[in-house]
Symmetry: C2
Subunit: 371 residues, 2 copies
């Protein structure tokens, strides 16, 4: 059995207002190409198919088209679960019909105990769950955290283990020892922060996880996050994105990197340096910029966007520090006319015209005189 | 070929804040029972499956369960289209998988020209459409109204007619000569008010329409609205609800009434009469009440709800008329203390206490004295 392990597609996500749908479509094509080239027997998607519990109509159309392509056109068996970003009832619409075509979409805890058998492997599809759901299912109020919940779930799954089969768990949670780094991994469920111990997951030959977007969040030979197929936030800028190609017999896991369509770059420099370097940088990529200039730069974001149209964050640490240290002192000493001209140029990006300057001077003298 | 023609299920609809889901579940069971008893070969649902383009999760779960029951459990072929209340992209999620199990759900104009053939019949599934979609499809800006659009659509469908088959159209629009009565048939599309001529529909052996909720909206032997399975507004209170049982050969149409779970009643009478009759009326039904009393009745709606908990509308024609005719005259002549005590009892439902009355009297004398 050879399968692809991917997760966290977050179809419909935007990055600081920029739609990522075209990038998501391109990355989907890469995933599809790999699946074909590697002749996989199945594709596993470990939750967070959508970015939102109420995805917009375009996102619905796009994800539906992708799943149709993989399953109905390319004829790959697909195994998917709902993540914390998905609405289980919305995502599961039609799931009962999907399974006739080897598309197994599990959104309920009940269904997790009924494994999908493909070739030599039993797949257990466990959607994202709240602890209360597990308490209700086992009628046991003593289940106090996610790891205890998971111990009960795994014990229940083991009852269905067929000994001469491999056992793969597909799940969406926070595993102990893994590092959360990205702000796009927002947890909806209160209490969802408590981790599942990797020991609890020992009975499985492989655990295909979703939730954390970084494949390096956890280092374990058989328990892995695939991470998201693309960078969804500045905090993910330095991560390599991709998916796992898993063989069950003999067991082997191989990392398949995916090529970003529009990368996220972290740049640091003065306005002049950044303006000079812009010609060497891809125009359509996303930029997180740290400006090293200490002085005020009027209308700085719009002026930088002339060079880097898709700036998603701008930091001015040096300027902020200078401002904190000196601004109050400076302002107290400055002449009213200087304060006014500075303020004007800072907010509008222009200098006062001769007429404006004349009116400003005479008005200020008048005010001074009337004191 | 024998099929049931129903439409306008509006799953998730509320009536003046009262959920109708339980009623909708019960009516679904009646529909299912009829389908089994009459051994139909298919079930046609002519649009407006949901009440909203973004149905809530419960509505999603309920409709999905109903369709699963009819199609996957009972094994009925199901033919359905999107109506003006449905979101076509949301409703169509999974439709490509449905068709493998003889559940044909059409939400796009393109798909309408590819008939579904079941036994002796070609079914053309035409979802609710905007004129611009038809203009784009035929690349013809001269299509100015819905009837012209429909003429083009029908001509295009006729190209696929197989002569020795029967031809049934499933559609969701306003047909000429039909009467719109109900306020629950809200039109979303501007321009959607222009009607389709019944002449345009002549090529079909039967036209199964959705949109208007009253089966009597149109009188035509072969072009019929099934109406909704239940009353969705006070304006539908006097309508008999049900669906059509259609045989194609020999052609025959039979009306199958559905029994309301909680009916809507129109009552007229004085407060005293209505209070007296309440014991004879079903407590859980919906009531539209016209009060004939001319005088003020403090806190009247809450007091009536003690007898009729589910009042969806209250009219006070006689009181309003009396008020219009006399109130101004009366008020101008009334003493300030009478106005105050009337106002107090009308708004609170109680009389002024002796202390309140004392304070009111002394305050009013003070005001009078200070004039």
């Amino acid at each position: 059995m050879r399968f692809l392990h991917t997760a966290d597609w977050h179809i419909g996500k935007t990055l600081n207002g920029f739609s990522l749908l075209n990038d998501q479509r391109e990355l989907f094509k890469q995933i599809e190409r790999v699946a074909k080239a590697e002749r996989v027997d199945a594709i596993v998607i470990a939750g967070d198919l959508y970015d939102s519990s109420i995805p917009n109509e375009t996102a619905v159309r796009v994800l539906n088209g992708m799943l149709k392509q993989l399953n109905l056109v390319d004829k790959f068996p697909v195994l998917a679960i709902s993540g914390n970003h998905d609405s289980a009832p919305r995502l599961s619409t039609g799931a009962d019909w999907f399974s006739f075509q080897n598309f197994f979409l599990q959104t309920s805890l009940e269904g997790a105990f009924n494994p999908v058998v493909l070739e030599d492997t039993q797949f257990f599809l466990l959607p994202f769950f709240g602890i209360q759901t597990v308490r209700n299912y086992f009628n046991d109020p003593k289940i106090k955290n996610v790891d205890l919940a998971m111990q009960r779930i795994v014990a229940e799954m083991e009852k269905s283990f067929v000994p001469d089969k491999k056992h793969v768990l597909i799940a969406h949670f926070f595993a102990a020892g893994s590092k959360r780094t990205a702000d796009s991994e927002t947890l909806i469920e209160v209490g969802g922060l408590s981790p599942v111990s990797t020991k609890t997951l020992a009975p499985f030959d492989y655990v295909a996880l979703g939730h954390l977007h970084n494949k390096n969040a956890l280092h374990d030979e058989r328990i892995k996050y695939s991470g998201s197929p693309m960078k969804f936030s500045v905090s993910e800028a330095k991560q390599e994105k991709g998916m796992w190609l898993v063989d069950t017999d003999p067991f082997q896991v191989k990392w398949i990197p995916l090529k970003p369509v529009h990368d996220i770059h972290l740049l640091k420099g003065s306005f002049a340096e950044l303006a000079k370097d812009a010609a060497q940088q891809p125009t359509d990529d996303f930029y997180d910029i740290e400006l090293t200039d200490q002085g005020r730069i009027p209308d700085v974001l719009n002026r930088l966007r002339a060079y880097y149209p898709k700036i998603v964050a701008l930091h001015r640490t040096a300027f902020a520090q200078m401002t904190r240290n000196q601004a109050n002192t400076k302002r107290a000493q400055a002449a009213p006319l200087d304060l006014l001209t500075d303020f004007y140029s800072e907010t509008t990006g222009n200098q006062l015209s001769p007429t404006q300057l004349k009116v400003a001077k005479s008005t200020l003298s008048e005010i001074e005189g009337s004191k």
